[in-house]
Structure formats: structure tokens, C-alpha cells
Symmetry: C2
Subunit: 127 residues, 2 copies
Amino acid sequence: MSGDVAELIIVNQAFYDAHEARDAQAMADLWLHTDDVWCVHPGWPILRGWPAVGQSWDAIIGGPGRLQFILTDVVAQVEGATGWVSLNENLVGPGETSTVATVNLFRFTDDGWRLLAHHGSPVMASL
Amino acid sequence: MSGDVAELIIVNQAFYDAHEARDAQAMADLWLHTDDVWCVHPGWPILRGWPAVGQSWDAIIGGPGRLQFILTDVVAQVEGATGWVSLNENLVGPGETSTVATVNLFRFTDDGWRLLAHHGSPVMASL
């Protein structure tokens, strides 16, 4: 089973749309609900398994923050049933901007591409 | 073509051994030398392509730092010719310790597993 890169880019964008729209259900629908998913929010330790990952998204999306994502340097690759997108998330929030270097890892399923991992890493302005 | 997870873990360990030993040649040999490799050092922006990635390793390995890596929460997965290892790098340096949440992404080749991407993300102690 193999997915294509155009679909991968659409699903990757849907991930950011769900985040911006603060749509916890859309976010949950984009993820595999398995033990092997993992997530690293910027500065956070690794969270493993859907219960911990899903809970973190509920907290972030349900929290007071409101972010706009401007994606740059987006590169998507597919190898069989695995796909990944590496990119910069340029975040525009109230009174602050920052960049997060990110990789999103996807598995192709009967329902299309689903997130297996999200790993965001703060880019330090001082470098 | 498919590699196995036991070999993947060995090559992942070789990456840290090369780093600790400050062996730039061993480090270079572990990477694909292609345009699609990328690397995010902790706090750094995305570097793309072997020339930029290789240069960064030469600078880091040739620099004054000396680090010991204690790896924890190591999870390796293989899907066809793609493999990835997510883990914590617990770094012991002179007068400081820190944790880096990391994913290493590998492609299986005629020469075995080779690094396609390394993405390390500083875990903030304040969280």
C-alpha cells in the first residue's frame, strides 16, 4: 500500500489548519490512535502513545493560546507506506514570533495518511 | 529491499559512538551523501543536503566540545526500506547535563542503514 506525495502535503496542511482552527476533533482524526505514535512539542520531552499525545493536543488546543502558522521550506517525501514532511513553522502569536523546525511522520492507511509522529524543535534566535 | 530493526539499532548506536569518538570519517560514512538528507541540531535551523549537513558535523566534531551520550527511551521501527529511532539523548558535558529529544531517520541501502535525517530538540528544564 502506498500513498502519494500530493495527498501527503494536503494532510500535512490539514494538521496546521486543525491547529489554527483549534479543532480538537479534526486534530484527533488526523492521528493514528496507536501505541507507537509519539510527539515532541517544542521544548517538551517525548510523549508516547495516543492517550498521552491526544491529551497534549486537547490541552494545547483548549488553552488560551492562538497561533497562526506560516510554513516555509516544506519538503515532503514518500517511501512506500511511510511519508514525512520537514518544514519550518513560523509562528505568529500575540506580541511574539518564533520559528520551529519540524518533522511530521505519516503512515498510509485505508483512511489515507495519518500522523505517526510530530517533532517540533525551537530555533534559537541567538544562533 | 528491507532492513531489520536489530541492524538499525546497531547503526543508530554507531552514530553516537562516532560522535563521542569525534570521528568525522565514521560520522560521514553513516550518512547518505544526497541532496535529500537534512539535519536539525538542537536549537539550529534545518540544514538540507549533504554538503551543509556534513560541514556542520565537521565543525561540531572538530570543535572544542566533548560529550558523552546516555541514550534512554530508545524506540526503533522499520517499515520497508525506511527506519527510524526516537530516543532521548542525555548529554553529559563539562559542568552541564541536558536532554535532547531526538529522531533519527534511516534509509536501507546496499551498504546497510544510512542516515537520511537527524533531528534533535532541546528539552527545556523549566517544563
